[in-house]
Structures are given as C-alpha cells and as structure tokens.
C-alpha cells in the first residue's frame, strides 16, 4: 500500500510522516513517532487512555486517523511539562498520589488540562463528569479529583500559568 504523506505539528514541533490510510493517530504516535505516552486501553474510544488534543480539542487518538492530523496542531502528554518543569497538573498528581500503575495517567492529565482551559474553576461535580471519559482501575478517582481541584486553584492564582 502506498502511504499518505502528512505534515502536522506535534507539541509545537513540525512533524512529517507517512502512514497508511487505515492507521490511527494513536498508532502513528506510538509506532512511527515513538511517542508512547498515549496508551491503547480499548481501541474503541471508551477508556480515554489515548487522549490527546487536536487543535485544542480533546479526542481519543484511537478514533482519529493519522491522515486527519494533516495541518493540525496535536498535543500529547510528552509536551505537557516544559523541560524539567512539570505542569501544575503533573505536580499536583504527584503530590496527591493521584496515580498508581500509571497507564491511564497520561490520558487523565491531557483531559484535565483540556477541562481547565475551558473551565478554570470547575466544581467537583464538573470534574467528575468531564473525567468520566477516562477509566482508571486503580485509584477510585478520589485523589485524581483532589489533584485537579488543587491544580486549578494554583493555576487560577497565576503562580504557574500553563
């Protein structure tokens, strides 16, 4: 099969790749670009482990084709920290131990960041509903919710603007 040439931006970097027509963005990220932070938990858009943003919109990268990234702006977990400086969400997840096995964590962080960009001051109810697209089997979500609330408060305070 002849692949399709795609030019896109990932975490601020210009990226070019060739992918098959039926290849998902998740497969491209993981298998062609060695960005393995996004995980495949189901391949059907039910678990959110593969969450990335495309032009700022939260998507399951297992439901997006690699060719659809043409000309877009893709953001993944690998771009969340600025060098050695963790994003406030990453720091608060660490401080609250809001992760255990870690496999769903990149998806939660990407989803939570998308939430806080839309709604800098979400209620617990809003956080729980927004993150209901992300499955975690380890934590029971309690510490994740606290971490997001805490990060939101800090980010509103402007000390560590994202």
């Amino acid at each position: 099969m002849a692949g399709t040439h795609v030019k896109t931006t990932i975490n601020g970097d210009s990226v070019e790749y060739v992918c098959e027509a039926d290849e998902t963005l998740l497969d491209v990220l993981r298998n062609r670009l060695a960005l393995t932070g996004a995980k495949e938990g189901c391949g059907t858009g039910d678990c959110g482990a593969c969450s990335v943003t495309v032009d700022g919109r939260l998507v399951c990268s297992c439901l997006v084709l690699g060719v659809e990234a043409e000309g877009r702006n893709v953001a993944t977990i690998e771009g969340l920290a600025q060098g050695e400086h963790l994003h406030p969400l990453q720091r608060k997840f660490l401080e609250h131990a809001a992760l255990q096995c870690g496999i769903c964590t990149p998806g939660f962080l990407v989803a939570a960041k998308a939430l806080l960009e839309k709604n800098p001051d979400p209620s617990e109810h809003e956080i729980r509903f927004w993150l209901a697209g992300n499955l975690c089997r380890c934590t029971g979500y309690d510490k994740i919710v606290r971490a997001v609330q805490d990060a939101a408060a800090e980010m509103r305070g402007g000390r560590h603007a994202a």
């Binding site: 039926d22 993981r30 298998n31 960005l35 393995t36 932070g37 996004a38 995980k39 495949e40 938990g41 189901c42 391949g43 059907t44 039910d46 678990c47 482990a49 993944t76 977990i77 690998e78 969340l80 920290a81 963790l86 990453q90 997840f93 660490l94 401080e95 609250h96 131990a97 992760l99 255990q100 096995c101 870690g102 496999i103 769903c104 964590t105 990149p106 962080l109 617990e124 956080i127 729980r128 509903f129 993150l131 209901a132 697209g133 992300n134 499955l135 975690c136 089997r137 380890c138 934590t139 029971g140 979500y141 309690d142 510490k143 994740i144 919710v145």
Partner: protein
Amino acid sequence: MADSGIGARALRKEDHRFLTGQGHYTDDINVHGQLYAYFLRSPHAHAAIRKVDTGAASKSTGVVAVFTGADVAADKIGGLICGWTVTDRHGKPHKAPPHPILAHEKVRYVGDHVAVVIADTLTNAKDAAEKIEVDYDVLPAVVDVAKAMDAKAPQLHADTPQNLCYDWLLGDPAQVDAALAKSHHVAKLDLVNNRLIPNAMEPRAAIGEYDGGTDSYTCHSTSQNPHVLRLILCAFILGIPEHRVRVIAPDVGGGFGSKIFCYAEEVVCLWAAKKVRRPVKWTAERSESFLSDAHGRDHVTHVELGMDKDGKFTAMKVETLAAMGAYLSTFATCVPTYLYATLLAGQYTTPIISANVKAVFTNTAPVDAYRGAGRPEATYVVERIVEVAAREMKMDPAEIRRRNFVKPDQFPYQTPVALQYDSGNYAKALDDAMKLADYAGFASRKAEAAKRGKHRGIGFSAYIEACGIAPSAVVGSLGAGVGLWESAQIRFNPTGTAQVLTGSHSHGQGHETTLAQVVGDMLGLPIENITVVHGDTSQVPFGMGTYGSRSLAVGGSAAAKAADKIIAKGKKIAAHLLEASVDDITYAKGTFRVAGTDKTKSIGEIAFAAYVPHNYPKDLEPGLDETAFYDPANFTYPAGVHICEVEIDPDTGVTKIVNWAAVDDFGKVVNPMVVEGQVHGGIAQGIGQGLLEGCVYDKETGQLLTGSFMDYCMPRADDLPSFKVGMIETPCPHNPLGVKGCGEAGAIAAPPALVNAVTDALGIRHMEMPLTSERVWRTIHKMAAE
C-alpha cells in the same frame, strides 16, 4: 529523614516517568525484527474441532507461520498447569483436565485459542486469520454455575462426571446441623457472587525472543510474578532450562490478580519465537481481555447462621458452588477453598462452621484470583447473613456485630476454620467508623430524604482477610505447589547509595517508594539515594511476586532482614575502623558509634571502606551486599469496618452513594498516602461489583454478552463518591515491620456494605448484585404492585 522514613507521606518515586509519558510498559517495547502474533479464537462455547485448514492463511501476505493445536502436540509442548492441588472430601486430588495452549480436538469457551498467525504486521496477521477454515461440530454448552452439575448438562472434559472438579469439605456439617437445630433462630439466605472481569487498564501483552547464538530466551510479559512465570514456562510447559530464560515484567499497568497466571499467549510467543527465529509480539485487544483474562468470583451459595436469643452466633453452615470456567487457571482451585472457607468466621466467635464447596467446569473463561480472591466472597456471605440475622432479630446491625466480635484479649484467636488470627481491635474500628459515618445522625437524614421522596439506607461491613500469603510449610500442606516466601537484596554502592532488589513486583502499589522508605529508615538513607529494582529475573533474586496483599508483609520483611544483615556487617567494619570491640558498637539512623563516646562512622564511610578495604578486618569479605529470604510464621489479618450510606431515587432506580466511611487496621503503615490510594481503589472495585459490574454469558450459546466497555459497566469518576478513610493500628506481632497488607481490603469490604445499605433503603431482604438502576427500579415497582 523525617519526611521519607516509615510513616511518612513520601511522594512516590515512580511517578515522574508515568506523569511525563515515559513509563515503559510491555506494549511500549519493540524489538528489532519483531513479528506480530494474532490468535484465532473460538466463536463457539463448546464444539469439537473436525478440521483446521491453514493452507490459505499460510500463503497470505506477510505471513511467516501459522500454528495450531496439532503443531503444539507434535512439539510435545505441555499444557497450562494449575499449581495448587485441592484434596476433596474423599481424599482424592481435584480433577485436572488438560489445558493445551492451542485447542486440540475441542474448544470449550468463546475465546479459546484455536490457532496463531505470525506475520510481519498485525494487519497481515489478522487478514490471514480470517482465511483459516475451522470445521466445528457445535455442542451444547453450560455456562451457569448453578446448572453445571445437572444430569442434562453437557460434560466439558473426559473423566469429569457432572463437570465436578472437586467436592471439598471443611468442618463437620452434621455437628453444625445439630447446633443449628438447637439455636433460638436460624437466618438463611441464598446468594450469588457475580462473575467479574478484571479489566486492568493495560491489556495483557508478551514479547518472546530466542537467541540462537546462546540458545537462550527472553520473555517480556505483563506479569505480577516473573520468576513464577519463568518456572512454569520452563519446568512445566516448554521443558527448557530455567537458567537460559529471562522473564522481564517491566512497568505493568494494573493486575488485580489477572496477571498472576501463566496464559497461553505468552507461552505461544516464546515457543513460536524459536520456531520462526524472530521475536514475536502479542498485545491483547480489549475484547480479548474480556474473553480470555481469568475472570473472578462466580459463586452460588446457601448459608445458614444460628444464634441464641441474645443474637450470639451458635453455628454457621455454608454450601457453595464455584465456577472454575472451562479449564483450570494457575491458582483457580485454592480460591474458593483455602482463600474462602477459612475466612467464614469473619470477625466473629461463631464456635462451629462447616463449608462444602463444589467446584465445577462451565463453558466460560477460566476463573481465578481477582482482587481479594475468595475473601470478598467469604465476606459477602458473612456480612449479608449477619445483616439478615440482625433484621430478623430486630437488633441494631452494629450491636449484633459488636456482640459477636473476637475481643482484643482473645488474640491469638483460633477460629473453627483453620486460621489463627494474630491481632486486632474490631470494636475500635466499628466505633471509629460509626463516628466517621455519623451513624447517630442517620435517622434524621433518612427522614429528611423521605420528605424529598428518596429512600435512604445504611449498610455495615466488618471484614477480615488473611494476607501476606504465607508460611510455605502451611500452604504446602494445603496443596500449594510453590513456597510463599519473599526475597530481597540490598546492594550498597561505594558512594553510599543503594539498590534494593525485590522479588515482589509493583504494578501500581508503589513499591519503589515504600520499600525505599523501609530500607532508608533502617539504613539512614533518604529515599532519593535508593533505587528499588523489580520485575527482571536476570537482575533480582528468585521471588514469588505480588498478590494477596503480600509485598510489604513478606517482601518488606525480607528487605528489613537484608538491612539487618547490612547493619551487622557494618558493625564489624566500624569496630575495626574505630578500634573497638564489635559488641561496643551501637547503630542508629545510619551512624555507627562506639557506645558512650563521640567516635562514629557514617554508613556511607562504612560502605566506602567495604569496597576500598585498605584498612579492613582481616577475616571479613569485602563489599556491602546482602540478600535475605523471609518466610513468615503466619498470614497477617487486616480487618476493618466500612459503612456505606445510599440514597435511592425511586423514579429512576439510581443509587447514589452519599457517604462512605472506612476504618481499617493494616498494622503499621509505611506510607499513609499510598495506603489511602489502595483503600480507595479497592472500594471502587467493590462498588463496581456491587452496583455496576457483572459478566453475562448468553445462557444457551455461551456468547459473552458483556464483551466491551459499552456492555460491561466499569466504575467511572461520576459513579463514585469521595471516601472517608480512617485507620487504626494494631501491629502484626510476627513480622519485623508489624505490617499487615492493604491492597485488597476495599474490594473485600465494599460489596456487602453496599448491598446492606440498598436493601435497608428499600426495606427488602436481599437483592443480587450488581444493583443496577434497572434492577432497583424493577424491584421498587414490583413492590409497589404487590
């Protein structure tokens, strides 16, 4: 030190890589030249295989090989094993039918492995699998555990009449019957412990590699116990020498029991890698996880509990049918026996108990240990029947429990079901939980809810579990094919930092932090100066792995013993350097001192001297590297009380958990933040079982109806409350750290607390899990109609 030693809420050392997307899970690993395996699975629950034609598939694009059960048989590859022999009531071992890695002559559940295609890409492997022609003779199937022994039920295996794996007995039912007959009241209940699908968020995966130059193998696998996997692969299935096989379980994305077991796929990858002389990689799709990961629970039970006029328990009788699935998984047989019936005393002094367990084969995925493994099933039986008893005796549910608790001065307490509880304070946990739940205010909250047209209910669960599995001699006498000790090695470096190598395996539990806290506390090192290594058979000493909340109690104790050895050797070096007698050297927090003087050596100086032994004791070996193996004297017995409060909307049947209070006794707590997380996650899984999750097979065809996240309802963030978690601490008296284990508590405690609360709210006797909104709504409307 204070912020990273035992008891500190130290931040988890492992988290940075996970938070930044740099974890290395098996599927993140690609090996040069790797091929992809795709398994053709049975579409039928029960069928004879007349013929498998792989001709077209073998010629398909990119295909390197196609293997079937006939190839496995030709290579004389052994079947998957069950590592625990249960002796039935007649003194005979359980039935252990063959479990081939690729089905031979017959398939026995939907998802059973029929053939494997090895190809250059996964797409090509899948395309080729569609070209395999299998001629099946479809047979009737039995999927319902309650019907497996019926005369009309199809028999799955030769030599297993009535599909019976074993008929096992603990205690004397005649004696129990006599005591029940004399009791003031006997509460009776029939209940189902619903079948669950574990669904660790990382699907299982494996990469098999064979190096012809050295005749050696490497297997990356999503395993909770890589050494045990290696042992099974080598000694029982492939017949290859253990010293030429390296099993690596890198970052593993949750296990919950389902990754303890040796599965067909990892065996096939390793076997095929040698046959095709290329690395072979397989990663489960989620639908394969649903179909082929070992499931949990699936019990049908009748229980009777006798009591005197004051509500003191006199005797308990339990009869359970337990599903094994189509084949025996690695530890399937011990779950509904030694991990279940031995816990039926609960926290109570019930003087005599009998349990009869019949384990049966059904045309379903194999059933094995899932978070709690037998103990959730036992706790569900005990805490449901106690609740029923309280209501029938018109006693307060807290009071009936308190009246029957084993008291603090009764430890060690020998139960009538084999175990000896070591320590606990059950009334204190109950008192604290009732305060945390504001039990006193419940009546007014219920009245207030009623004014809004809502039903409020409250439910208790006083659970106990046996963890830290456990003395090798004891489990050996009960049929275990393995020892259940743990290993640890501390490798001090010349510059004063250390590696701790553990035979336990972390797949979310935080060992890289908590074991560092234990060793750091003892050796006076900040946890930043300690790296915990696990999950690689070529790096760490043989270890038994992680399950049954055993890692800290057994593996942590091994690490503590290794630290003791480091300190003992350090004293000899310090004595030499300080020109004192060894007996005069004291040690505390990383400093060796000549007693009563200011002459000291830090542990860093001692380590340097050990590796640069220019001035060194004459008869002492250089180096500072100690290994310890720890085999505990007993199980540990974590216990606690969980109280759940629910509010039900009768218009929708939706149950909202409005309050969850848990008070647990895990003995000494090394990292409260990690422990809270374990409790939260366990409760979430228990709530999942109680409210949402249930594996459903079509009763006629044996098709899995809950084979995706759209059909199998996992708890999501909007389904769960915040949890109020309290702890009490009665140290375990028989391990050096005083720790008990916390990984399974929530999953054990939660289901009966929830069902007790919902049945209380609705004023009904019993309802089977999961208490979905549909089931609750139907129950409410049926009651209204009657």
